[in-house]
Amino acid sequence: MKVLVPVKRVVDPYVRVRIRADGSGVDIANLKMAMNPFDEIAVEEAVRWKERGIAEEVVTVSIGEPKVVETLRTALAMGADRAIAVQTEVAVQPLEVAKMLRAIVEREQPRVVIMGKQAVDDDSNQTGQMLAALLGWAQATFASRIDLSDGEAEVAREVDEGIEVVRVKLPAVITVDLRLNEPRYASLPNIMKAKRKPVETLTPADLGVDPTPRLEYIRFEEPPKRQAGRKVESVRELVEELVKRGVI
């Protein structure tokens, strides 16, 4: 079985982004970048399938600026076999990403696409579902446990009510949640080995997709600030304050 793992290059989730003074965008030029944490979990899961003999090949793909190759190297160092970089300077959005991934799926013919449930930069939580829709495949989103068997996957999904278990037919798109596994750190020898693994470079045009976004982000602003906090000295003072404010 071949597995495809799309990964996104994002600002490190522990770094605070700054809005440009004129509100025209978010300045990320010199910030530390990382693989989207959800995608790291997807790579880890795919690599474990390979180690257990369930997957024969793990192909990883990233779409974005030329530097996505760095992110792909991380996935290769974790154990993916080869990578595809779809390079574009356009800030692509989920629908166009899904269309490019569909074209990749048509070329590569994987049985499973496994990817993060959302990217921590734009927090859209759309791409996996859109890809499944465009392919006419099943989708299992927000996975915290995946059991692959012959033509099916049983997936435990983290939903608002608790856990929901679904069975999906393969091929399928699976999007992963944080509790599926703990991704490994790539070892130094594996990082070295990853440098020799193949990375193919494509453009959106090669895939026949116009990357132009449909959504215009026209203004960026700080969220409303909360009043600076006040400290209370004791539990009694805390309760008095809450009574005064009428909440208890």
């Binding site: 600002v11 989730p13 605070r16 982004v17 809005i19 978010v26 989920p94 629908l95 449930k117 959302q118 930069d121 927090d123 859209s124 939580n125 759309q126 791409t127 579902q129 859109m130 890809l131 499944a132 829709a133 099943a138 989708q139 989103t141 983290e158 939903v159 009510e161 608790g162 856990i163 929901e164 278990v165 069975r167 999906v168 399928a172 949640d177 944080l178 509790r179 976004p213 449909r214 959504l215 215009e216 982000y217 026209i218 203004r219 960026f220 602003e221 700080e222 969220p223 909360r226 009043q227 600076a228 906090g229 006040r230 400290k231 209370v232 539990v235 009694r236 805390l238 909440v247 208890i248």
Partner: protein
């Protein structure tokens, strides 16, 4: 053209998330229809018909809509989509799972987790874990939106009497099948709509200690939340997680116990009216957003707090 709201429900009652979504839809369009796909869900369709501002309810009954999978629901939505130029669902795991599948099939760029409708084509939403508020304009004539339910008032029920129309259910796609749901049952209020939320973090230390958080919640009649670290460590079930990847809450009172206040946690609770933090580290970032911060060991402060609240309540009922 009217807007369509896809109802979230459990075949017995409309989920309150649907009511907030109706409010958002009404800002977009004066005519709002609600789609109720269920099994034995007549009561839900009737409840939807009574919601303020709802023009018409589309009801689709089928066995495979008892616990519908997105693959099957999408076919139903597409069957009725032609009559609508806006399609909305709550930004719950239900809506997040379903709506992008619908949007892609309609070739529309979805806008997720809308917090404000500025114009029929212009919306506000957060990016970067709530750190940046964006104004987004779509070039698509059709709009597909998920709605942050804490950002909109819930539409009133029991006021209208919209017509209920039956819509035949498309057959199963056979792509996916619901197996079971492991629900954490509780008598406590629902986390996303509770007036008071008491949340525990890694500082609580263990599942046993988490009972302290639960006891405080119970004297306050509150719902319980947790940080990701507390859920990962197994102190609390996943559906208690508040934050960027968990639930978004905005209660009147949010009490954070042993939670440091990482941006991913703040993303889920910083619209709460009053935030209380109990943390032994005076530098913890949670204090930057807390209206009432108490620097203390939670194992000492929380039992005291429970006692003090019980005392206040006793005095009140005696008076």
């Amino acid at each position: 053209m009217p807007a369509l709201v896809i109802a979230q429900h459990d075949n017995r009652r409309l989920d309150p998330a649907t009511l907030a979504t109706v409010t958002a839809a009404r800002v977009l369009d004066s005519a709002v229809d609600v789609l109720v796909a269920g099994h034995g869900a007549r009561a839900v369709a009737e409840e939807a018909a009574s919601v303020e501002g709802v023009r018409r309810v589309l009801s689709s009954e089928a066995e495979h809509f008892a616990n519908p999978v997105a693959e099957d629901l999408t076919e139903l939505v597409l069957q009725v989509a032609d009559g609508f130029d806006a399609i909305l669902a709550p930004s719950t795991t239900f809506g997040r799972n379903l709506l992008p599948r619908v949007a892609a099939r309609l070739d529309v760029a979805q806008i997720s987790d809308v917090v404000e409708v500025l114009a029929p084509d212009t919306f506000k939403r957060y990016i970067y874990a709530g750190n940046v508020l964006c104004t987004v304009r779509t070039k698509d004539s059709r709009r597909v939106l998920t709605v942050r339910t804490t950002a909109f008032e819930k539409a009133a029920t029991g006021v209208g009497s919209a017509a209920i129309e039956e819509v035949p259910a498309p057959p199963r796609t056979g792509l996916a099948r619901f197996v079971r749901r492991e629900v954490h049952r509780s008598e406590r209020p629902d986390l996303t709509t509770a007036r008071i939320v008491v949340s525990g973090g890694r500082g609580v230390g263990s599942k046993e200690n988490f009972q302290l958080v639960e006891r405080l919640a119970d004297v306050l009649g509150a719902a319980i939340g947790a940080s990701r670290a507390a859920v990962d460590a197994g102190f609390a079930p996943n559906d208690w997680q508040v934050g960027q990847t968990g639930k978004i809450v905005a209660p009147e009172l949010y009490i954070a116990i042993g939670i440091s206040g990482a941006i991913q946690h703040l993303a889920g609770m910083k619209d709460s009216k009053i935030i209380v933090a109990i943390n032994k580290d005076p530098e913890a970032p949670i204090f930057e957003v807390a209206d009432c911060g108490l620097v203390a060991d939670l194992f000492k402060a929380v039992p005291e707090l429970i006692e003090e609240i019980e005392r206040v309540k006793r005095e009140r009922s005696a008076a």
